[in-house]
């Protein structure tokens, strides 16, 4: 295990401390909890946005805490959803009187822990609403099962719901727009290498020297297909064909695109992928309104990337374009 760490047990605490030390103007940490909140939380009269999940997905979620995005990011152990008491503290800390929206990625653990936190908050008289993001088209959808996983598309929910809250939207309005994003966002990823959870010390899965995995999850959950490494263009074609046919996206649609590096994939390769994405969208007569390329929802040092498409209407465009200023997401 080659990692720049001190002790596998302390990675989350040390990371959060480092983050607060680095960005005191943006964020602070709730004493005794692995919760990062806006430096000026609670913002009076504004709907508070709380997201979070297991650690190891940095800059998600604490990196998106700031003006125009989240009010709090709750950090669980690596790849383990945070506990309700932590989430509850976050809710209390960011409630400015207008209620709090919980943005949850669709994992059983996350859903249940956030739900319990919501129950605790309601017992204290805090208005809480929640949305569950499930953008990963690699997983078969079905109302009878857990459904799809939430992955990089979650960042668009943060951005757009964040803009709505910043603009003074009510809890119902912020929730409604978050759900609109969820209905219109689709992602899929692939990996060239696994990653190592510090406490486990060994890879979450193994891949041959010439193999890659398509459709795997951001915690190393097995994917839909394991094959020989393909060319970047072929990989992109495969991912895009799954994504495009899902909603489906139609000629004339406008979209935001995100290429999300999973941790070890160089920026060069992310741009090479986008080059192909852009060509495919042109062929399908789909217009790109905005592009995001970089690391947003990582999986420690996994090599690989995901593609996310968000179908936009005028409302979503306006909110996506709104400025945001956080440690890891800045837009004028």
């Amino acid at each position: 295990m080659k990692k720049l760490i001190n002790n596998p047990e302390h990675v989350v605490e040390e990371m959060l401390e480092g983050m607060v030390a680095a960005f005191p103007g943006y964020v602070r940490k709730l004493e005794g909890f692995n919760v990062i909140v806006r430096a000026d939380a609670p913002v009076k009269g504004k709907v508070g946005l709380v997201s979070g999940g297991g650690s190891g997905h940095e800059p998600s979620h604490a990196g998106f805490v700031g003006r125009g995005m989240l009010d709090a990011g709750v950090a669980g152990a690596v790849f383990t959803s945070p506990t309700p008491d932590q989430i509850f503290e976050a809710v209390k800390a960011v409630d400015g009187g207008a209620g709090v929206l919980l943005i949850i990625k669709n994992y059983t653990g996350d859903v249940m822990n956030f739900e319990m936190a919501g129950e605790m908050a309601e017992m204290e008289g805090i208005k809480v609403a929640k949305v569950v993001v499930n953008d990963d088209v690699a997983v078969e959808n079905s109302t009878y099962t857990t459904g799809r996983r939430g992955i990089a598309g979650t960042v668009f929910v943060h951005k757009i719901a964040g803009a709505k809250a910043q603009a003074g939207g009510t809890l119902d309005e912020v929730k409604a727009v978050a759900e609109k994003v969820i209905a219109n966002v689709r992602s899929m990823g692939m990996a060239l290498t696994p990653c190592v959870v510090p406490a486990a010390g060994k890879p979450t899965f193994t891949l041959g020297e010439d193999e890659m995995e398509i459709g795997m999850g951001i915690h190393g959950e097995p994917g839909t297909m394991r094959t020989k490494i393909m060319k970047a263009d072929e990989i992109v074609e495969h991912l895009m064909s799954k994504i495009l046919t899902d909603i489906p996206f139609k000629p004339g649609d406008e979209v935001a695109v995100m290429i999300n590096g999973l941790g070890a994939t160089p920026i060069m390769e992310q741009f090479i992928m986008y080059n192909k994405v852009s060509k495919i969208l042109k062929e399908h007569d789909i217009k790109v309104h905005r592009t995001y390329i970089g690391e947003f929802m990582t999986s420690l040092e996994m090599a690989g990337a995901s593609i996310t498409l968000l179908k936009l209407d005028e409302e979503l465009k306006k909110l996506l374009d709104a400025p945001a200023d956080t440690p890891a997401f800045r837009q004028f």
């Binding site: 309700p84 653990g109 249940m112 099962t145 857990t146 486990a200 979450t204 959950e221 097995p222």
Partner: protein
């Protein structure tokens, strides 16, 4: 005729010991169809439980179980934290105020634990979860709670739980992280069903060992 609070703590210590012994095994199971942390999560939680129980002396058995539940909820995380946490909290509610527990209480506790897990996780039997080992055991306990040989009933319940664990090998996961695997989840034993069986096993062993007759 029954166990007091100190006895309950001993039973819980035994459960914690069992989980800790099976830390690697449960993690191994979870690595096949999940994210390789079930043993890590659970033993972290039960270490905290033991520490908590030692740091304060509680006489109320209901309060003890509630403390266990709250500790699990706030230390385990993941799916199993809220599930087992809710289970213990609900069980604690049902025996609140009692300074000793008899066999009927034991049945109530597991019944309520099952209810808690189903409420929180919305799983049915056959979906490859904790429910698959716990429900068969609870069914036997409920059916035979008035039988004379409590020891035998407990054996039968434990056996049912074990069969439930085995059964999880043959089915597709419909809840939890393993459900993303679809058909590929078949052939693997469910970590949560297994940890639940192990906890039952430890509890029943300890109860017998303490020869608490009333139980």
């Amino acid at each position: 005729m029954a166990t007091d609070a100190a006895g309950l703590v001993k039973i819980l210590e035994k459960v914690a010991e069992k989980i800790s012994e099976n830390r690697e095994f449960l993690t191994e199971l979870d690595s096949a169809i999940g994210d390789a942390d079930h043993g890590i999560n659970m033993s972290k939680g039960f270490s905290a439980v033991v520490e908590k129980l030692h740091s304060q002396k509680i006489d109320d058995c209901g309060a003890i179980l509630k403390t266990v539940g709250m500790t699990l909820v706030s230390t385990v995380g993941g799916a199993s934290g809220p599930l087992y946490g809710t289970a213990f909290m609900k069980a604690g509610q049902a025996v609140a105020g009692k300074s000793s527990l008899d066999f009927q209480d034991f049945v109530t506790i597991l019944e309520q634990a099952l209810e808690g897990i189903k409420y929180r996780g919305k799983a049915q039997r056959g979906e490859k979860t904790i429910v698959d080992s716990l429900e068969p055991a609870v069914d036997i306990l409920k059916d035979e709670k008035d039988s004379g040989d409590k020891g035998l009933v407990m054996e039968k319940a434990l056996n049912a739980a074990k069969e439930g664990v085995e059964y999880t090998r043959s089915i597709i996961a419909k809840k939890g992280r393993a459900s993303y695997l679809g058909e590929r989840s078949i052939g693997h034993q469910d970590p949560g069903a297994t940890s639940c069986y192990l906890m039952l096993q430890a509890a029943i062993e300890k109860i017998k060992e303490m020869s608490v007759n009333g139980l």
